[in-house]
Amino acid sequence: MTYALRKLGMLLLTLWAAVTLNFFLPRLMPGSPADAAIAKLSQNGPVSAATRAAIEAQLGVPGGNLLEQYVHYLQQVVTLDFGVSFTFYPEKVSDLVLTALPYTVVLVGIVTVLAFVIGTLIGVLAAWKRGTWMDTLPTLGGSFLSAFPYFWIALLLLFFAGYVGHLFPTSGASSPTAVPEFSLSFIGDLIYHAALPALTILITSLGGWILGMRNAMINTLGDDYVTFAEANGLRGRTVALKYAARNAILPNLTGFGLALGGVVGGSILVEQVYGYPGIGYLLYNAVVNQDYPLMQALFLMITVSVLIANFLVDILYGVLDPRTRR
């Protein structure tokens, strides 16, 4: 329990550090969004004082000293007040992010967990049946698939399963006519639309988990406790799962933590290709349109999600490995 509390303390500390960095970094850069907007306008002719004041009022010019700004900023972060988006004016940034977040977290999050679980299981099987076709097939297949750039897989799927085969919709998260509600038909519609992006992520990330788990387990299979377990006549299934795999999975958890952390920020290309209205899609638009408020909120979001994912994996580690609890 103290282990979890200690990790929680670490999480809060790093969160604070991340938020603070997010505040100071933009201020180290010369100029401000207002300056940038005014500079852009002035290319077309002189900017009147009234226009200048209007832009500054709209985009906000920091007032007060740095400490006051910082306190103000912290208040805004806590109340999720990130201002108004330029791109989707006059939508509030927090509303945009909160609308997009569930799509990404559910789609990419579930697929990431799924890929980890399936990949790990296949890896266990491959290592246990080392040297047979059950080893060579997933090992070769895994390396082959993970070598593809995933936007290319996305395009292939889009073309064949979408345009040619008409098996799945080619863009969006739900049908234009669907009514958002908690009903089977709507959820079915969501899954139907998420299928291709999910498949893309699954195909490209599975290989890494298979190979990672297989190699880790080949190592633990050579460990003395596995030999001893065999010498004691434990059943093959017990030896494979509770002895070899159970220990082999530990180093892979770190990679899983990183992958989970990348869920929020790492799906830009997939969401872009499939026009999927998640965080990646939003981030892409924010960057292209120099939408500073949106960008800042999204970057903070990504940082926070990486930290939380790592926290969760740390806790999981503590549960799975008694040696880390001390």
């Binding site: 406790y225 030999t227 010498a231 004691n232 006549g233 434990l234 509770k242």
Partner: protein, 575 residues
């Protein structure tokens, strides 16, 4: 036990018969290497036999083959292993698995790692009970408690994870787990090698008692002829995959037939004996006074010594080293507690104690790798704690270290020549041809001839003994005044030990290099040192001339260390 023999009684019926067994290591692209060649022997029910040999003799390969744990690349290519008359080579996987209960079991060498680090000890027992169903689910816990008590552990270990137990406790747990299978035949593969001296002694005692009380048939595999002779009633000596001798322990001890057995035996001696004869050593046994008197009168060596710097003494005055507590709320660790000694030029001092006694910390203090928490460590006139860069360089040139593990102490990517040239160029004035000549000379000094051939080799092309010689040559390369040797022979086979120890002794006599010899092995300390300090929990409990300390120990801890030395002569007592 399911056996119906009275404990300790030896039945005439063979429990195991091995016929012409040959095991090869087969890897693709390589010629098969035979590790066990045409071995035959018979084991009667209730017997306790020893299987002795040096590294590479094939003893462990044989042990793994007997319990059908040999895995590729090890392959049984010929012969039969008849357990109760049926060949275990023909068992299918499930038959074999069932046979492991009430059949043959094994305790592995590195008992430290034989337990699953993420499972409690209790679960280890439950796994076995569940796999074989020979214990009623209702009495799992009672049976597990009974088994750990048998190996003299408290029941509380059942709820610990392996990482929370000491090495000796883990090995005891392994033994209890093997016992839970109620085996008829139990193979112990180097069961105490990774353990500390005193622990080793205690665990061997437990094994002997259990064998007598439970009445299982046992094979003890070990590189240590001493342990095997004192424990078993019959010994098989293996060399190069062949059983070169098979006979009763007392006969092996008193009348060994094979040349190889005689060689192994010649390296054993009681460190307490008045005189000690080990090949390659003049008797250094006589009373220390006599030896010293003789040394004072022999002149050639004193010439060499006079050439050394007179101020090259290492002086340790009331040094302590305290480490911060490993976890918050615990007490700080006192590794070295108020230790004082002087190592005069040309002198050889043994630091003796079990692991955790502070020996290696003292080595780190003397080489300047660590600073004492209090007290003083001096080399000549300079205080090690206040050395600057230049002086530190001087210290490193003059105080060199010989490491314990020759397999880890050499960079596998560099040739011997490169390894030796580095300190020569760093610490001496020699350059170019002169430096190379010095390098070759060093190789000759440590007995690696022809030097040119060895200079070009990489570490993996050398044997353990040869590597340790390279490590010693490297330590000598800077013309040091002091050698700190931390267990320099503990990783080496007996037959190689004498050579390395003899080399250290020669260096000291010829070059006047003084030596701090750190060891838990009392016999080797007796062979190469004049004085001895016995350390327990960071404190010096006894010190004096080596022979005197060993022959007339006054501290109880020293006596315990001496008692823990395997005593082959017990083979004569005929248990």
């Amino acid at each position: 036990m399911t056996t119906n023999t009275t404990p300790g009684q030896v039945d005439e019926q063979p429990i195991l018969r091995v016929e012409n067994l040959t095991v090869e290591y087969r890897s693709e692209g390589f010629e098969p290497v035979a590790a066990v060649k045409n071995v035959s022997f018979t084991l009667r029910r209730g017997e306790f036999i020893g299987l002795v040999g040096e590294s590479g003799s094939g003893k462990s390969t044989l042990g793994f083959a007997l319990t059908r744990l040999a895995k590729p690349p090890a392959t049984i290519v010929d012969g039969k292993i008849l357990f109760h008359g049926s060949d275990i080579r023909t068992l299918d996987a499930e038959e074999l698995r069932k046979q492991r209960r009430g059949g043959f079991a094994m305790v592995l060498q590195s008992g430290m790692n034989a337990l699953n680090p993420v499972r409690t000890i209790r679960k280890h027992f439950h796994d076995i009970f569940r796999a074989h169903g020979h214990v009623e689910p209702g009495s799992f816990n009672a049976r597990a408690s009974e088994l750990v008590r048998k190996v003299e552990l408290p029941e509380t270990v059942l709820d610990r994870f392996p990482g929370e137990l000491s090495g000796g406790m883990r090995q005891r747990v392994s033994i209890a787990l093997a016992l839970s299978l109620e085996p008829e035949l139990l193979v112990f593969d180097e069961p105490t090698t990774a353990l500390d001296v005193l622990v080793q002694h205690a665990v061997m005692d437990t094994i002997r008692q259990l064998q007598a009380s439970e009445g299982f048939t046992a094979i003890l595999i070990s590189h240590d002829l001493g342990i095997v002779l004192e424990s078993t009633e019959r010994v098989l000596v293996m060399h190069d995959g062949v059983v070169v001798e098979d006979g009763p322990s007392h006969q092996i001890l008193d009348d060994p037939q094979a040349e190889y057995t005689r060689m192994l035996l010649s390296h054993y001696a009681d460190p307490r004996a008045e005189e000690i004869h080990i090949p390659g050593f003049s008797t250094r046994g006589r009373s220390a006074d006599a030896a010293r008197a003789e040394r004072a009168t022999t002149s050639p060596r004193s010439d060499a010594r006079a050439a050394r710097r007179a101020d090259a003494s290492i002086v340790v005055e009331g040094a302590s080293k305290v480490y911060a507590p490993p976890r918050r709320g615990e007490k700080p660790v006192v590794a070295v507690d108020n230790v004082s000694f002087t190592l005069a030029p040309g002198e050889s001092l043994a630091l003796v104690g079990q692991s955790g006694s502070g020996k290696s910390t003292i080595a780190r203090l003397v080489t300047g790798a660590e600073k004492p928490s209090s007290g003083l460590v001096r080399f000549g006139d300079s205080n090690l704690a206040s050395l600057r860069r230049r002086e530190l360089r001087d210290l490193r040139k003059n105080v060199q270290m010989v490491f314990q593990d020759p397999y880890a102490a050499l960079n596998p990517l560099h040739t011997v020549e490169y390894t030796l040239m580095r300190p020569i160029l760093n610490f001496t004035e020699r350059r170019g041809e002169a430096a190379r000549e010095r390098m070759l000379e060093l190789l000759e000094t440590v007995g690696l001839t022809p030097a040119e051939t060895f200079a070009a080799k990489l570490p993996h092309q050398l044997s353990g003994g040869q590597r340790q010689r390279v490590v010693i040559a490297r330590a000598l390369a800077s013309d040091p005044q002091v050698l700190v040797a931390d267990e320099p022979v503990s990783m080496l086979d007996v037959s190689l030990r004498a050579g390395v120890l003899g080399l250290l002794e020669d260096l000291r006599e010829q070059w006047g290099v003084s030596m701090l010899y750190i060891t838990h092995d009392l016999l080797s300390a007796r062979l190469v040192t004049d004085r001895m300090m016995v350390l327990n929990a960071g404190r010096v409990v006894e010190s004096g001339p080596t022979a005197d300390v060993l022959r007339n120990p006054s501290d109880e801890y020293t006596i315990r260390l001496l008692d823990a030395v395997p005593n082959p002569a017990r083979a004569r007592e005929g248990r």
